[in-house]
């Protein structure tokens, strides 16, 4: 989740009052922000994905004002009577554009840093790395309305992009400008690219890639034009509300833009609050505390909302920038946070029924205890391994479930059997001395198209005995004792297996079902694992053993 940095003094400036360290430490968690560090004037906090409005000092100041009682209820805005016009005629793959104007802003270095941070953090998260939503801020000086969000051939215009001294076409930007290279996948291969131009045809921006240097926002900027382009109209509205109201915190008035788009005409930004009907009994049903209408309304007001009684219900109005309010339960959380989680006393749920472990776990535990009783040491390997270990080193060809995007080559496939990892473990434990007896009980995954998830998962038990003088008899003796302890009988059939020495390997049959194998590891395989000591192994399908045990005569 995004980590946001703000300056203590800037936050105080926006709040219009001093802030103590205690207030910061106490308030941030109440809006789900986790304070990471305060270093001198710099405050670092991690904000959540559902609150992009808190990705800068401006938005945070609005929320803190409510929590600290500086200003409660819905934020209000001074809206200018002047309305300018814009046209949205972008390409079909990115059809939406909305605009807003904020006048009379007072910017310094920190203010610009905050607005850039807001833009960047929203791009990365809610904007899905600009794919879904991208934002632009411009110095309005020199921009003639109506502005136009349009589509052009990538070689048809030239403009000077941010941080460049020369004019470029959109194609050149995608090829040579660092930002262009980074985001070119968003428009690459399209016959037409999006462009924002003013009434005189001057290029304002090439969304969602880069702005024009000509309209860069600087400390001398007083009026700002904001655009949001998007693949999702509602997302564009919410984001524009966030950015416009945040910018307004540093300005004097918001100006509306009448946008003519293929979806209709709309005045943007949306400043009217959104609303949801809330039944305060939901608080008691979900939180387990009875708060009543008045108390609920008071708490919501601290969260910068407004609750108006409608019979036994409340109409909760909340700022349009609150992207996270989807359902009345989201209001429950607001109520809970304002009330304070620490004031909700924990209740112990009495058992609703007797507890119960999964049968396979009970059986596995019993097997593990049997092996421990025989002097084996239990090991624990990842299910993740690689096909080289699973097959190649074992002298096999085989298939495993592999992942598309491994982080390490050593871990790209799910194990289909445990034996190879026991050999790895032995190879890494030469200092442990011999004889060494180890085992592991765990899940393996075999590709199987008959299953709904194309994988058959089995519980296996594998053990290995390593040491001078160890032979198949050592593996068989343990196997026989194990099987007999469960009142079962086994039979053995000769097995040819590339990992095992011919004539010293067997298939284990229990209750007529194949239950696994036992054998001496082939010296060729031992050499592959850099082992120079004989190793015998057995690997048993626990599900088969369990079935046999369950169908055993009597009870």
């Amino acid at each position: 989740m995004p980590v946001i940095s703000v300056k203590w003094w800037d936050l105080e400036r926006l709040m219009g009052r001093e802030l103590t360290r205690g207030e910061i430490e106490d308030s941030l968690p109440r809006v789900k922000c986790e304070l990471e560090e305060i270093e001198g004037d710099e405050i670092w906090y991690e904000a959540t994905h559902d609150r992009p409005d808190l990705y800068s000092a401006e938005g945070l100041s609005i929320a803190l004002k409510g929590l600290l009682g500086v200003e409660e209820g819905l934020p209000t805005y001074r809206v200018s009577g002047r309305v300018v016009e814009a046209f949205a005629e972008g390409p079909a793959y990115r059809p939406y554009a909305l605009f807003a104007v904020v006048r009379g802003v007072d910017l310094d270095d920190e203010a610009i840093r905050q607005l850039m941070q807001l833009q960047e953090k929203i791009h990365v998260t809610y904007g899905r790395d600009r794919r879904k939503v991208s934002i632009g801020l411009y110095d309005m000086r020199g921009i003639k309305f109506p502005v136009r969000y349009t589509r052009v051939s990538p070689d048809s215009v030239r403009f000077k992009p941010l941080d460049m001294d020369e004019e470029m076409t959109p194609s050149e930007v995608l090829e040579r400008h660092p930002t262009g290279v980074k985001y070119r996948h968003l428009v690459e291969g399209r016959a037409e690219v999006p462009l924002i131009v003013d009434a005189e045809g001057k290029v304002v921006s090439f969304p969602p890639i880069i702005n024009s240097e000509e309209f860069r926002v600087t400390e001398s900027t007083t009026d700002i034009l904001i655009d949001v382009t998007s693949t999702d109209l509602e997302a564009a509205r919410r984001v524009l509300a966030i950015v416009a109201t945040a910018t307004y915190v540093r300005g004097k008035e918001i100006g509306r833009v009448l946008v003519h788009g293929p979806w209709g005409e709309e005045e943007s930004p949306r400043l009217e609050p959104d609303a949801i009907l809330y039944d305060p009994s939901l608080s008691s049903r979900i939180l387990g505390v009875d708060l009543g209408l008045e108390e609920t309304a008071r708490l919501l007001s601290r969260m910068r909302m407004e609750a108006v009684p409608r019979g036994s219900l409340l109409e909760v109005r909340f700022p349009y920038y609150r992207t996270d309010i989807l359902h009345p339960v989201d209001i429950v959380e607001e109520v809970a946070m304002a009330y304070g989680y620490d004031r909700l006393s924990p209740l112990i749920m009495r058992p609703l029924h007797p507890g119960r472990e999964a049968g396979i776990e009970v059986f596995t535990r019993s097997l593990r205890e049997t092996l421990v009783g025989m002097g084996f040491i239990e090991v624990n390997n990842y299910m993740f391994t690689n096909t080289n270990t699973l097959f190649t080193k074992m002298g096999l060809h085989g298939k495993a479930i592999e992942v598309e995007n491994p982080k390490h080559e050593a871990y790209h496939a799910l194990r289909t059997w445990i034996t190879p990892q026991l050999l790895e473990t032995l190879a890494r434990s030469k200092h442990a001395g011999y004889p060494l007896k180890i085992f592991e009980a765990g899940d393996v995954v075999l590709p199987d198209d008959r299953e709904a998830n194309l994988a058959r998962e089995e519980r296996h038990l594998a053990y290995a005995v390593a040491g001078r003088g160890v032979t198949l008899t050592d593996a068989l003796a343990h196997l026989r004792s194990l099987v007999e302890l469960y009142g079962l009988k086994m039979s053995l059939e000769p097995l040819e297996h590339p990992s095992l020495i011919p004539g010293r390997a067997a298939r284990i049959i229990i209750a007529g079902e194949e239950a696994g194998f036992v054998g001496e590891i082939h010296p060729r395989v031992l050499t592959e694992f850099s082992l120079t000591i004989p190793v015998v192994v057995a690997e048993i399908n626990v599900d088969v053993l369990r079935r046999a045990f369950l169908s055993r005569g009597s009870r």
Binding site: V31, M349, Y382, V403, D443, V445, L454, A455, E457
Partner: protein
């Protein structure tokens, strides 16, 4: 029983001593008290006797007294001369062969007659002989003038040196000479004297002291024949580190997880199971995680290679999920406002959260009052280091019911922390896409301060209503138990939980949860 006596005297049994100890007490009772003297008569070194002396003392048969003395003993140089001959002795040997020798050629001349002497030693020898009047220098030559004076001087020094080497005393003058020549030095020496105790005398009087067979390993034959009755059992030296016994054991982490299961079962939870290779449907869509949610991308989720699709036949459920994502369906939610792709939901991933198992459980069990847990592995694309792992265990749980509230979730955290002995739980608001309200529970770690261990929340209506739960609440959590395990096991590298070092596994202390033993 051949000991004992009337008149209130203690009843004593025969004491069997090993041969050497028997000889020691015999000597002591015979009046030899100095341990050096005892050692001499037994023909062993004093050090070799000390264990026997100590045992006899411990059995109350001897009293041991130690006294420190300053004694003169040969230095290393002195000892060497005792072996090789004093320098003057060797020079004298040369001069008796050849009456006069050029001083600088003395070592060479010595070598010719098989005497080794260094130039320095030659100097010392000549000086000593000159002092005794046995040698005179004529220019560069040394001439033997009085052989017997030389012999006498050599004899005196040699005898003094030999005597102190044997621990005898010598006269003041001789001592001064040896010290000046650095052939002897004062050294502290502890004289040890042993005396019989009353008990020893008593045993001796009654003939209760006997020599016995020494038993190091008790044999069945010794037991059967009764030889043990007249035997001396060689005691063990407890200061010697014993060897370790071999043993089998559970893996400490898996044993810890066994305890966790036990705790959950005791609290009334039923265990649920689900596959590791999972449909995106259960891992994400059912959880109301939008299909363009960043957690569903390659940075956060492992996708099965080849992007195959699994199967799921309940089209009605798929339709409810689709509607919920789009416009909230009948849940009262706004939804995410996008067109949900059923094909995407069928793609296969390695489950990133066992919440997928909770989804399957609620789907199968439907409405009701129940509590379930799962303790299994999940996968996330992380670089494997001390703090991160691409595969780890998650402890997942749900409490389903009409009257289940957020406070029960907080209660679960508190109870869990109590049973694990983790102390106080602090809770803070948090965000998870599928719960509302959401919470993060912190515990105080001895080194790390407050650490997050209990994430959870109430499943959103958008999650549970499509599964058929209307009018029900579900408290849910998904705890990364590794962190708790690391606290209990006292380790700070998560990779150790999956180590391939058997020796490490063998040596780890057992992970008992103290709170369960109280």
């Amino acid at each position: 029983m051949d000991g004992g006596g009337g008149n209130g005297a203690p009843i004593l049994e025969t004491v069997y001593l090993p041969p050497r100890q028997k000889r020691i007490v015999d000597l002591v009772l015979g009046g030899v008290h100095d341990v050096d003297a005892i050692a001499d008569s037994l023909g062993v070194k004093r050090e070799d006797l000390m264990r026997d002396i100590e045992e006899l003392r411990a059995r109350g048969l001897l009293v041991v007294e130690r006294r420190k003395h300053a004694v003169l003993s040969p230095t290393e140089e002195g000892r060497r001369y005792l072996e090789e001959g004093l320098p003057e002795e060797r020079v004298l040997k040369v001069l008796s062969e050849k009456n006069s020798v050029e001083r600088s050629r003395l070592p060479e001349e010595a070598a010719r007659i098989g005497v080794k002497i260094s130039p320095r030693e030659a100097g010392i020898g000549l000086a000593q002989l000159a002092r005794a009047g046995a040698v005179r220098f004529e220019g560069d030559k040394a001439v033997l003038v009085d052989s017997s004076a030389g012999e006498e001087a050599v004899g005196k020094v040699r005898e003094a040196l030999s005597r102190i080497a044997a621990g005898e005393t010598i006269g003041e003058d001789e001592a001064r000479v040896l010290r000046r020549r650095k052939l002897a030095a004062k050294r502290e020496y502890t004289r040890i004297e042993v005396r019989p105790t009353e008990l020893l005398g008593f045993l001796q009087e009654r003939g209760l002291l006997r020599e016995g067979k020494v038993i190091t390993i008790l044999t069945p034959e010794d037991i059967e024949s009764g030889a043990w009755r007249e035997a001396y059992f060689k005691p063990f030296d407890l200061s010697v580190e014993p060897p370790r016994a071999g043993y089998g054991r559970k893996h400490p982490y898996l044993e810890f997880l066994d305890w966790i299961r036990e705790i959950l079962v005791a609290m009334g939870f039923e265990e649920m199971k689900g596959p590791h290779v999972e449909l995106e449907l259960w891992n994400f869509d059912a959880l109301f995680q939008a299909q363009d949610h960043p957690a569903r991308e390659i940075h956060d989720t492992y996708f099965v290679k080849g992007r195959p699709k699994g199967r799921f036949d309940d089209h009605e459920y798929m339709e409810r999920v689709s509607r919920t994502h789009m416009d909230g369906w009948e849940t009262g939610s706004r939804g995410w406002g996008y067109r949900w792709d059923p094909e995407r939901a069928l793609r296969l991933v390695l489950r990133t959260q066992t919440t997928a198992v909770s989804m399957r459980t609620i789907y199968e069990r439907g409405p009701g009052e129940y509590m379930c847990f799962s303790l299994d592995r999940v996968f996330r694309p992380e670089n494997l280091d001390a703090k991160h792992s691409m595969e780890f265990y998650q402890l997942e749980g749900i409490i389903v019911g009409r009257r289940v509230t957020f406070r029960h979730l907080l209660g679960f955290f508190e109870e869990m922390a109590r049973r694990l002995g983790l102390g106080e739980v602090k809770v803070k608001p948090a965000y998870f896409p599928f719960t509302e309200p959401s919470v993060e529970g912190f515990i105080r770690h001895p080194h790390l301060g407050w650490i997050e261990v209990f994430p959870g929340g109430m499943f959103r209506p958008e999650v549970i209503e499509p599964l058929g739960l209307k009018g029900y609440n579900v408290a849910a959590w998904g705890i990364g138990v590794d962190r708790i395990a690391m606290t209990v096991l006292g380790i700070d590298d998560i990779r150790l939980l999956f180590t391939q070092d058997v020796e490490w596994i063998r040596r780890q202390p057992r992970p008992l949860i103290k709170e369960m033993l109280r």
